[in-house]
């Protein structure tokens, strides 16, 4: 059976060139980058090079990059780290209603510990409004954390405008205000320039850009105060202790460089496939709803609610036909609750439960689209044939 992977927002296959780049560090060049001897220095040089490559992807300086174990740790470190460092200036955080669990969960943790949270709405298009951000800022606000692009619907938030707002506030005296953005989905897929965005912290993760799982990075703008969370070693300039995962870091560097070089082609390719996919699904299947703004979004994602049916059944149906997709965030699978992201768009329970994310990658083909559209048509038909909701909707 032909297998079609349309879940690149959950994770990506590793690029063969990236595997090649990391292989020497899984074999001969195995030193600990903290060791003074040659074995260590070779590892150190490789980490330094990767740090420059990763920094380049977002137009940062190498010493503003802290390697972490992934996007989750980067988000946790940014939020807990800044809030612990700033808590004497205030205890108010602004965030959006559709953050990834690693931001949402950490913000909830702080809320339980006495912090006040403002969660901005995203309206029916999945976009935060800058005016809402402006109105939410208080004298005791120390952190704004709004993701660059959403992991379920791909909507791209107005981070540049939020960055300008934060800079303005800081210039007029609110020195303790920082701006963090979770760019785990955006990095490698959208051009990112931390100078242009004006963020102080930005999280990203290797496994969303054709590199292995288990490494990510946090951009920390020079001068931003932050308490380290992983303690006990001098690595990462005292901001994140623990032996550096050299092979993963090298892979991340190589993948970042490839992403930078190939971003335009990759995006043209996935946008073309995605748009063709959406046209064909729309033509063949009735009563569907696209979730999230369709212009202001990443080029590789499509999120569709199929009325009358529930997402997981559809997912398994598709899986039996070799097509891999996701219901909402991979991270919240394993739970029964419908996606909070889709609910935040104001959709009813049925649409929230019927949402499926299709996410394309650089190696998908037109044939993949054809196979997927066929499979989806069959699966939706089959599930609707047993759905009591279909008859009710005809009756009314």
């Amino acid at each position: 059976m032909r297998r079609v992977y349309l879940d690149h927002s959950a994770t990506t296959p590793i690029d063969a060139r990236v595997v090649q780049a990391m292989l020497p560090y899984l074999t001969e060049t195995f030193g600990n980058a903290s060791s003074i001897h040659q074995f260590g220095q070779e590892a150190r040089a490789a980490v330094d090079k990767a740090r420059r490559q990763v920094a380049s992807l977002i137009n940062a300086r190498a010493n503003e990059i802290v390697f972490t174990s992934g996007g989750t740790e980067a988000n946790n470190l940014a939020i807990r780290g800044v809030c612990e460092a700033r808590q004497t200036s205030g205890r108010h955080i602004i965030t959006s209603a559709i953050e990834h669990p690693s931001v949402r969960g950490m913000v909830e943790y702080l809320e339980q510990n006495g912090w006040t949270i403002t969660r901005l709405p995203v309206y029916d298009n999945g976009l935060v409004r800058v005016d809402d951000v402006r109105a939410a800022i208080r004298a005791d606000t120390v952190l704004i954390s709004v993701m660059m692009a959403n992991n379920e619907i791909g909507t791209i938030q107005p981070v540049k405008e939020i960055g300008a707002l934060v800079r303005g506030r800081r210039e007029s005296g609110q020195k303790h205000l920082s701006f963090h953005t979770d760019a785990v989905q955006a990095a490698g897929r959208a051009a990112i320039d931390v100078e242009l965005i004006g963020c102080d912290l930005l999280s990203f993760s290797a496994h969303k850009m054709y590199a292995p799982k288990g490494v990510g990075a946090l951009f920390i703008r020079r001068g931003t105060r932050l308490f380290p969370q992983q303690i006990g070693g001098h690595q990462e300039r005292e901001r994140r202790a623990g032996t550096e995962p050299v092979p993963n870091i090298v892979a991340f560097g190589a993948a970042a460089e490839l992403a930078r070089q190939e971003m335009v082609q990759r995006n043209e390719h996935t946008a073309r496939l995605r748009d063709r996919f959406e046209r064909e699904v729309e033509a063949r299947i009735e009563t569907i709803v696209f979730n999230g703004d369709r212009r202001q979004r990443l080029s590789h994602v499509s999120n569709i609610s199929f009325r009358f049916i529930e997402g997981e059944g559809l997912l398994i149906h598709l899986d039996m036909q070799g097509v891999a997709v996701s219901t909402g965030s991979a991270c919240s699978s394993g739970t029964l609750e419908p996606s909070p992201v889709i609910k935040a768009l104001g959709r009813d329970e049925e649409l929230a439960r019927g949402a499926i994310r299709f996410s394309f990658g650089k190696d998908n083909t037109d044939e993949d689209v054809e196979v997927a559209v066929e499979a989806i048509t069959r699966a939706v038909e089959s599930l609707r044939a047993i759905s009591p909701l279909v008859r009710e909707s005809i009756a009314t």
């Binding site: 149906h317 394993g334 044939a385």
Partner: protein, 120 residues
């Protein structure tokens, strides 16, 4: 999270799906927590379930339990059908993770509701 082959087969090829045009017994149950729904239509004659059809909305276990139930009861004496339990359904689909067993309970509830007008 991984389902059995028989489970997947029920999902891909639901048995006895639909609604009987000449049913004389109906029941519909909704899980108040997650909103899953199961509708059963039966044609009962002379104490025997001659035909059974189901419709279901919700997570895959709900769909599959509906299919397994409808297949299982068709042809059965009402008195026998009344004694079916959650475990009979679970056996028929080779089990479910504990978090998902409520789906079998929903199916049995629908069956009980349908058959409650028949004295034992």
């Amino acid at each position: 999270m991984s389902y059995s082959d028989i489970f997947k087969d029920h999902l891909a090829n639901p048995r006895n799906a639909g609604e009987l045009p000449d049913a004389n017994v109906f029941a519909e149950e909704t899980n108040p927590v997650c909103g899953d729904r199961l509708r059963l239509s039966l044609r009962v004659r002379d104490g025997r379930i001659e035909a059974a059809r189901f419709l279901a909305y919700g997570c895959p276990p709900t769909l599959v339990c509906g299919s397994a139930l409808a297949e299982m009861v068709e042809g059965k004496l009402v008195d026998d059908a009344k004694h079916l339990t959650r475990h009979d359904i679970l056996n028929a689909i080779a089990g479910l993770p504990s978090r998902k067993q409520h789906a079998a309970a929903l199916a049995i509830e629908a069956l009980r509701t349908a058959l409650k007008s028949f004295r034992v």
